[in-house]
Amino acid sequence: MKKLVMGLTAVMLAAPALAQQAPVPGWAVGRPEGSTLAPHAPRLTVTPLAEVPVGAIRLPPGFQAEVFAHGIPGARMMAEGPRGTVFAGTRAIGRVYAISRNPDGTTRTRIIAERLVQPNGLVMIGDSLYVLAANRVLRYDNIEANLDNVPAPVELTAAFALPTEQEHGGNHHWKFASLGPDGRIYTNVGVNCNICEFDRDKFALLVSFNPDGSGRRIEARGVRNSVGMAHHPITRELWATNNGRDWAGNEWPNDTLHRVRQSGEDHGFPYCTAGDPDPQFNAGRNCNQFVKPAALMGPHTAALGMRFYTGTMFPEQYRNQAFIARRGSWNRDKLSGYDVVVAHTDAQGNVTRVEEFLTGFRDDANQRFHDRPVDVHVMRDGSLLVAGEQMGAIYRITYRR
C-alpha cells in the first residue's frame, strides 16, 4: 500500500514536466508500466447449447444446475412477470429478452425491445415492465399479454430526468433497478469517470423514485457504481453491491456490499473506498465520517446482481441471505470472481461471512473463464436463476434433499 502511494506521488510530481504534452487522463494514472490488463471481450453472438458450460458449475451438496435458457447473447439483469415470464436486459447489444416456458418445460425467447442504449435495469410492477436504458425509462404495460406484438412503451424519461449518457461521458451510465417494499423504484447513478472530482448530488448515488418518476430521493451518496441492490426481506433496509475503482493495484480496493440504514447516508466515494482513504482523491477526509461497507467482496471481482433468498426450496440456512453474482475481474493480474457467493447475516443484519456458492467458471490454472455470472433471481418455486452474460445463457439452480 505504502509503495503504491509513493509510486503515485512520483507520477504526480513528474506530471508538470509533461504538461506541454497531452495530459494523461486521470483513470490511467497508476497503471503499472508494462501492464497488459484490458477488459475481456464480450460475446454478442449466439453460443450453441453444446458450448454452454453448465457442466463446469460446482455447487454445495444437494444442489443441481441446468440450462434454463440459452441463445440470448449478453443476457444480464432479470425480472419476472406475474405469469412467469422472465425478462432479461443487456448492455452493449441493446436488447430486452422475454423468456417464457412452454408446456413441455422448454423455453421460448423473444426480443421485446431492441436498439436501446444499455437496457440493463428491469423492474416489474404489477403487469408493467419498466426498462431503464441509461437515462431512458420506458414502461411496457400489460407486457405478458403482448409478447408477440409489443405496443409502444410509455416514455417516462423526462419525469425521471436521470443524467444522460453524455453527462456520464459514457461512464457507468447503465442502471440496475429494483422494486422497494414501499413501491418505489430503486436505481443507481454511477460515477461519470473511473475516479475524479464530480458533483456528489448527481453521480455515485443510490436513488429512488415513485413509479411515475416523481419524488426523487437520494438513498445513499458516495457509492461509485452499484449494479445490484435489494431490500432485506425482514429489516426492509436497502442493500447494494458496488464496483471499486480501477488502476490502484491488484489487491486494492475491494468491491463492496453496502447496507443503507437511513436515506441520504454518505458512503465515501471518491474520498474513501472499502473503508480506506483513496491514494489520489482522499482530500484529507477521515474515513470514519462515512458509512463503512457491510462486507468486502474481493478486489476487482465485479460484484453485481444481488437478491435475498426468499424461497423455501433451498435449506433453511439460505433463507433471507444475500446471493451475489460476481462477474469477474479484468483489472487484476490474476482472475478473481466469476462465481456466485452468499453473504450470510446475523439477526442484527451484520454480515458474518461471505461464502462461495456457485463456482467452476474460473479456471485458475489456465487463467481463463467459462462464463460470467451477472445476476441472480429467485423463482416462485424457490429455484435460483443465474444469468451468464458471456455465453448468453441462464442457468437454473435447484435443491433436492
Binding site: A22, T36, A38, A41, P48, G169, Q367
Partner: protein, 196 residues
C-alpha cells in the same frame, strides 16, 4: 521483431478466455463477396482512405462491430444494409475470413515524417496504446489491429472517440484519447499507420 511477434502471440492466446466458436472462413468468403467486397475489397485491402482495411483484422473486433452495426447501436449509414439480417454464424464467418487474410500497408501511404513519428510515438507511450493493442499494435480479441490501416481512417476514428461521437463496447477508447488535440491525433495516426 521476432520476440515482439512471439510475445504478441502469447498475449493474444491468453486473452482468449473462451474457446473460439467454429467460424467458417470459407462461408465467410461467400458472404464477403456478396456484402463486403464492393467497398472493403475481396482482399480486405481497401484503397479508399475512408474505408477501413480489414485484412488481418482481429476476428473478435470485426464480429463485435458488425453486431453493433446490425443492431443499430453503432450507426454508420454505409454499414446498415450490408449487415441487415445477417445471422450470427455469418457474422463470425465473415470475421474469420478477413482475419485470415495477410495485412499489408496501404499503397497510398504518405511519406514518413520524422517529427510526426516522434510525436506520435511519445503520445502512444503516454496514452498506453500498446497495452491493449499490444506493443506491435497488431491488436487482440475485441481490440483492433492498428497497423496497415489508412492514416486518415485512424485519425477519423480517434477524433470520433475524442468527441464522444463513437462509443465502443466500453468507454476505454474515449478515455484513452480524451483531451488530445487535432495535431496530437494526426501525429498518432501517422505513427500508427507507419508501423511495419
Amino acid at each position: 521483431m521476432r520476440l515482439g511477434v512471439t510475445l504478441a502471440a502469447v498475449l493474444a492466446a491468453a486473452a482468449f478466455s473462451l474457446p473460439a466458436a467454429a467460424a467458417d472462413p470459407a462461408r465467410g468468403a461467400v458472404v464477403a463477396a456478396e456484402r463486403c467486397a464492393a467497398c472493403h475489397g475481396m482482399d480486405g485491402k481497401s484503397n479508399v482512405a475512408e474505408i477501413p482495411r480489414l485484412a488481418g483484422q482481429q476476428a473478435g473486433f470485426i464480429t463485435l462491430q458488425m453486431i453493433l452495426f446490425r443492431e443499430g447501436i453503432r450507426q454508420v449509414p454505409a454499414m446498415q444494409a450490408p449487415t441487415e439480417k445477417l445471422s450470427d454464424t455469418d457474422v463470425e464467418a465473415v470475421a474469420a475470413y478477413f482475419a485470415s487474410l495477410p495485412s499489408a500497408p496501404p499503397e497510398d501511404s504518405t511519406p514518413r515524417d520524422a517529427a510526426l513519428m516522434a510525436r506520435g510515438q511519445a503520445i502512444s507511450a503516454a496514452r498506453n496504446c500498446g497495452v491493449c493493442h499490444l506493443p506491435n499494435y497488431a491488436g487482440r480479441a475485441q481490440m483492433p489491429r492498428l497497423t496497415h490501416q489508412h492514416e486518415a481512417f485512424l485519425a477519423h476514428t480517434m477524433t470520433e472517440y475524442r468527441d464522444g461521437n463513437r462509443v465502443g463496447i466500453d468507454t476505454q477508447m474515449n478515455g484513452a484519447v480524451q483531451g488530445l488535440s487535432d495535431a496530437d491525433i494526426a501525429a498518432l495516426a501517422h505513427y500508427l499507420a507507419h508501423q511495419d
